[in-house]
């Protein structure tokens, strides 16, 4: 995790420096704010990883001499198949089309989207937890 945290933090610091430099040379708000946003995008998760990297049990993937047996056990829960992503994706598509072609498409979008959200949540509660 330490390497991952360092990567993100260094990227964040780089953007921070660039942002400050940019502000005092260009005085342009949009670019400055986007650079600050990018800096935070690096610093927030990067700082979190760095904070935890020295406090957590190392991942097997981070140990240079780990053997396969170190990784034995539950990896994670991986759903075999699920219809809900398809319905949610189609719901999102109809939702965007509603903005263009009118509210008559809204019920289709809502039906697909809501059923997908409920379905996915129920699916996770029923059997998705490790």
């Amino acid at each position: 995790m330490r390497v991952n945290g360092l990567i993100l933090t260094v990227i964040g610091i780089f953007f921070g420096i660039i942002a400050i430099f940019y502000w005092f040379t260009a005085y342009e708000e949009a670019g400055f704010l986007m650079l600050i946003g990018s800096a935070l995008l690096g610093l927030l998760p990067g700082g979190y990883y760095l904070w935890w990297s020295s406090r957590m049990t190392p991942l097997e993937g981070d140990m240079p001499d780990a053997t396969v047996s170190d990784g034995a056990g539950v990896i994670d829960a991986f759903p075999g198949s699920s219809i809900w992503p398809f319905l949610l994706g189609m719901g999102a598509m109809f939702a965007t089309l509603t903005f263009i072609f009118g509210l008559w498409l809204a019920p289709i979008a809502a039906a697909l989207g809501l059923s997908a959200i409920i379905g996915a949540v129920v699916e996770s509660r029923r059997g998705g937890s490790v």
Binding site: E28, L35, G42, G71, F78, S81, M93, T96, F99
Partner: protein, 586 residues
């Protein structure tokens, strides 16, 4: 519809006996693990397997590639003669807009980070799937929805969007671009933008958390490294695009004036937002393909990669710098800081140069063999070098003022993008096709495909540099004989037709591999990364066994213990009992 929890011992402890069940008998179906769930069409609709989703992505993006490639041929046919009237001006504008949009938003990116990366990254890091399989499926369906919306915008009243793929304000407002086609274009970007963000999240989480035991960050193959960096870039860039698109939609329909001067807005804000997305997008398109080439060259040079860490740091520097150079697309607006953006743009040449140096260093003194994937990688090197060098020229404001919006720029970015997405993309496709389908592609047809594409590519785009320097602007539907651009345009059109023709051999190759399959085996190229350890195609959750991971080439170490650099780890004794190595069948 059910959620199956995979058994805890999916990745079994390594056995001295080697990976059992790796053999021809596992080809053609998904290995030993019983796959629960539906079959047929419903299987496709409900699958959360990264391999199925990756293949869906690849097929969809290749279809968009061929649709928008056909548009390019119409564009070239229109330009082959002065005052040509093959298509009318409005249709021409729609064609170049949709050609750019489909290629950039819906082919180049999704083919890499949705298709190849989805399929290959979990295999390379030794993971059973992507970190969030259902989110991965949602990415695909959003992408398919976005692709459908954009493609279908041709059939609505008023036609498709016609303002170029960059949609500059105020050309894209409701007065200059009325009609549902533009709105569909915007909504399609919203959908595919979210699709990309979810894929970015998935890639980062997979590479951060699901690496196999011993697969430290500095043993992850460069392709996966580049996909990690691409994922981070996606998370920086695509939210900005989404915000920009939503604000443009509000300007068009809800009476806001964010991009219109009349209401106190700033049109150039669109350019800032768009290019803050757009330039990282160039590297979102390029980095995965750099990664493909970086994985291919060592395999066909039979050497380890020269400068592994240098490659990683070069990739990171390219990504960081690429986010600070957006306004080099806006030099001619007169409202950006020229020295700042020019300097940062020049700096990108340094890590890119390091990459070139390392690619050449890898080949230097190697036992080179030029199979199709390696040939395409060579094509990439030449094409990207030319595109990159002209890019350095364009980073200079005086040169940019001269050539902005001419065919010089068109030639530059086509050389960069075709070099990466087409040459390196097809290199990856030829390279990993045996892994994905368990059958080989024909070498002879692949080489014909390459050489025709390579010749067509140079014939198409070198004249465009010249015609651009002679003053031909981009995005024009006709020109006069007196301009003196006719001959060069005709050469360019011939080249484009050769490119189109070359893909016939690709189709023939695909058909032939399905009609008369040649089994590939697990490791047809004697590759070193982890994806070559499992069967072709891999079983449902990728690995039944894993080799010890002690370098960035674990499979090479396993198959060639005599060449192993690190002799300290204790697995060598196992090899002595086994005799034949698994997968080293070439």
């Amino acid at each position: 519809m059910t959620t199956t929890i995979e058994s805890p011992d999916l990745i079994e402890p390594e056995e001295p006996g080697g990976p059992a069940g790796h053999g021809p008998e596992t080809h053609g179906h998904d290995g030993g693990h019983a796959e629960h769930g539906p079959s047929g069409l419903l299987k496709w609709l409900t699958s959360t397997d990264h391999k199925v989703i990756g293949k869906s992505y690849m097929i969809t993006s290749l279809v968009t590639f061929f649709i928008s490639g056909a548009m390019a041929l119409v564009i070239r046919a229109q330009l082959s003669n002065p005052t040509s009237s093959l298509v009318n001006f409005q249709t021409y504008n729609e064609l170049f807009t949709m050609h750019g949009s489909l290629m950039l938003y819906l082919f180049a990116g999704p083919f890499a980070f949705g298709g190849l990366a989805n399929y290959i990254v979990p295999l390379q890091v030794g993971a059973p799937d992507m970190a969030y399989p259902r989110l991965n499926a949602l990415s695909y369906w959003l992408y398919l929805g976005g692709t459908s919306v954009m493609t279908l915008s041709f059939v609505v009243a008023g036609g498709a969007a016609s303002f170029g793929w960059v949609a500059y304000a105020p050309l894209s407002n409701s007065i200059n671009s009325p009609g549902a086609g533009t709105d569909m274009w915007l909504m399609s970007l919203g959908l595919t933008g979210f699709s990309a963000i979810f894929t970015g999240v998935n890639l980062v989480a997979t590479i951060f958390y699901l690496r196999a035991p011993g697969m430290t960050m500095f043993r992850v193959p460069i392709f996966s490294w580049n996909m990690l960096v691409t994922g981070i870039l996606i998370l920086i860039a695509f939210p900005v695009l989404f915000g920009a698109v939503v604000m443009l939609f509000c300007d068009r329909h809800f009476g806001t004036h964010i991009y219109s001067v009349q209401g106190g807005g700033v049109p150039v804000l669109w350019q800032h937002l768009f290019w803050f997305f757009g330039h990282p997008e160039v590297y979102i398109l390029a980095l995965p393909y750099f990664g493909i080439v970086t994985d291919i060259i060592p395999v066909f040079s039979r050497k380890p990669l020269f400068g592994y860490r240098g490659m990683v740091f070069a990739t990171l520097s390219i990504a960081a710098l690429s986010t600070g150079v957006w306004a080099h697309h806006m030099f001619t607006t007169g409202v950006v800081l020229l020295p700042f953006f020019s300097l940062l743009s020049y700096l990108i040449a340094v890590p890119t140069g390091i990459k070139f140096f390392n690619w050449i260093g890898t080949m230097w003194g190697g036992q080179l063999s030029f199979q199709t994937p390696m040939l395409f990688s060579m094509g990439f090197l030449f094409a990207f070098l030319m595109g990159g060098v002209t890019g350095v020229l364009l980073a200079s404001p005086p040169v940019d003022f001269m050539t902005h919006d001419t065919y010089f720029v068109v030639a530059h970015f086509h050389q960069v993008l075709i070099g990466t997405t087409v040459f390196a993309g097809f290199a990856g496709f030829y390279f990993w096709y045996p892994k994905m389908f368990g059958r080989m592609l024909n070498e002879r047809l692949g080489k014909i495909h390459f050489w025709l594409l390579f010749i067509g590519f140079w014939v198409t785009f070198v004249p465009q540099y010249v015609v651009g320097l002679k003053g031909m602007p981009r995005r024009i539907a006709d020109y006069l004989t007196a301009n003196g651009w006719t001959g060069l345009n005709q050469i360019s059109t011939v080249g484009a037709m050769i490119i189109g023709f070359s893909f016939l051999f690709f189709f023939v190759n695909l058909v032939q591999s399905w009609r008369k399959p040649v089994p590939a085996g697990d490791n047809p190229w004697d590759g070193g990364a982890l994806e070559w350890f499992t069967s072709s195609p891999p079983p449902h959750h990728n690995f039944t066994h894993l080799p010890p991971i002690r370098s960035e080439r674990p499979v090479w170490d396993y198959n060639h213990p005599e060449h192993r650099k690190d002799e300290s780890h204790g697995d060598k004794r196992h090899r002595e009992h086994e005799g034949e190595t698994v997968g080293a069948n070439s």
